[in-house]
Amino acid sequence: MNGTGKWLSGAAKALYHGAVWLCFLFVTAPSLLMIVVAFNDAEYFSFPLKGVSMRWFAEMLENSNYRGSVVNSLKLAFYATALSVLMTLPAALRLYRKKSRFVETVLLAPLFFPLVIWSLGLLQLYGMFGLSGRFVTLVLAHTVMITPFILRVVLQSLREMNSRLEEAAYSLGAGKWSTFRRVILPIILPGVLVGAVFGYLISFTDVTLTMFISSSGNTTFPVRVYSEQRSEGLNMVVLAWSAVITLVIFIISLLGEKFAKWSRYF
């Protein structure tokens, strides 16, 4: 390779690395800024910061309005995830035993179905039966919304399982239930956990579906912030909560990738 060629390939490499780091900056900038500005020592968002303080984090815990909606979100995501895991496990087991493309497609369909459309239909359904605004309607809708994510992960871990272990358990005289409980479940448990965390986060951060079908009494943190932002702008308590949530999600993502390599389930 001559001098010019070396210089050219060096320049191309520098360009490539520069572009990559710019892209990573693009990916992280909004979350980073969100965390930084929550420490602002001022009544409103401003940049550069007026000073560094923790006072909005203290305020955040005292303001029961926002705390209430965060607790609501946590509760909703918990019930939806629990319900979804309970109905996904048996369904996944059946689909693993006896493949059915049709049933699998139906169960994965919400993944490809625009949420707005489905939410509109649900709004009308709940309205017809006079159930609008009930907490249980939110739980059921979120359950279906997150089921495809959980189902995909559970099915994949079932299919990666060594099926000889199951046969061995049967041939040693274990019944179906005890084979499930003592052989299959322990093997697929990491997958079930990963799926549950996926589902939990998706339910916790949802805006669209909840926006259509929740009432002001039981609304979640994201929907509350969305509607407030549109009418009266952002306040520092919201930014403090957002910073904390972003940080927690970062830690969860890191742990999930480090210990379960969960990016491969996408």
Binding site: F45, L120, V144, L201, P222
Partner: protein, 293 residues
């Protein structure tokens, strides 16, 4: 029957459906029924004050939708958004996926985490971040003014470019992971084989690696297309009500105007559009032989 269900013959019939029925029942009520209801309601003459069984039916809503240039313009605009966002996420996504694929242990985990965090923190928190970044007194304005490129603060919020950038950012992780996972299925020694046959690293990349990830690229594009088509929170916050995409219009018709039948008509057209595009993508996948994930 309870006895025979222990044997294989009985299991095929009874227990199987028992395992599926909770999921299918919930889906039937919460997913299928609303979709069917939407079709029925789209033919109703709007009359919120009447009971469901008292309402009249007509094709009027559809006629209004197809003849009003405003809604056709919104569809066109939304499709332009979809095209821009898919193209941008494809290019940036491939770059990032390739870099992550080549990175080693610790760096790899960290970089994947950086991509996963915006994905998991959802549309709202990310668009709040963009709202702050682009605001009149945000860091981008501060930076541009410090550099002397702007003499007074410019409100980027509510512009098409701002919403597109925020949407590219929101859906980029899906594209990165789609491509990354298809890169992971390439046998590790294949690019080496290409190199040993005399291909330079660039030509091995273009002629061996890229074609093998076509499935991931198509799957990612389909996903990003669908997500952009139905995007709601991001255009709402970054667009500040000045950017109206399809999902926003549906919400407006349903919640603010209370015209549910018309909102249903818009929804069904959105769905038809999505079906056509997915069909084309599926055809493309089959033709190129790439495995969609």
């Amino acid at each position: 029957m309870a006895q025979s269900s222990r044997t294989t013959g009985g299991r095929r019939f009874g227990v199987g459906w028992m395992l599926l029925s909770p999921a299918l029942a919930v889906y039937g009520i919460i997913f299928l029924l609303p979709a069917l209801l939407l079709v029925a309601i789209s033919f109703q003459v709007n009359a919120p004050e009447l009971y469901v069984w008292e309402r009249a039916y007509s094709l009027g809503n559809y006629e209004r939708f197809y003849t009003d240039p405003y809604f056709l313009k919104v569809i066109g605009k939304t499709l332009v958004y979809c095209a821009v966002v898919v193209a941008a996420t494809l290019v940036i996504g491939y770059l990032l996926a390739w870099y992550i694929y080549k990175a080693q242990s610790f760096a790899k985990t960290t970089l994947i985490t950086l991509v996963l965090t915006p994905l998991f923190s959802g549309a709202l928190l990310q668009s709040l971040g963009w709202y702050l970044l682009l605001a009149r007194y945000g860091p981008i304005n501060a930076g541009l003014r410090a550099a002397g490129w702007l003499d007074k603060p410019f409100n980027f919020l509510g512009t098409d470019a701002a919403v597109m950038i925020a949407l590219v950012h929101a859906f980029l992780p899906f594209m990165v992971l789609s491509i990354l996972n298809s890169l992971r299925t390439i046998p590790a020694n294949l690019p080496d084989a290409a190199a040993s046959l005399g291909a330079g690293s660039w030509s091995a990349f273009i002629r061996v690696t890229v074609p093998l990830t076509r499935g991931g690229m198509i799957a990612g594009s389909g996903l990003v297309f669908g997500l952009t088509l139905g995007s709601f929170a991001t255009p709402g916050i970054v667009g500040q009500g000045k950017i109206q995409l399809l999902a926003q219009i549906i919400y407006q018709q349903a919640i603010q105007v209370f015209d549910w039948p018309f909102a249903a008509v818009i929804s069904l057209n959105l769905l038809a559009l999505l079906a056509v595009i997915s069909g084309l993508l599926a055809l493309l996948t089959r033709k190129t032989g790439g495995a969609a994930q």
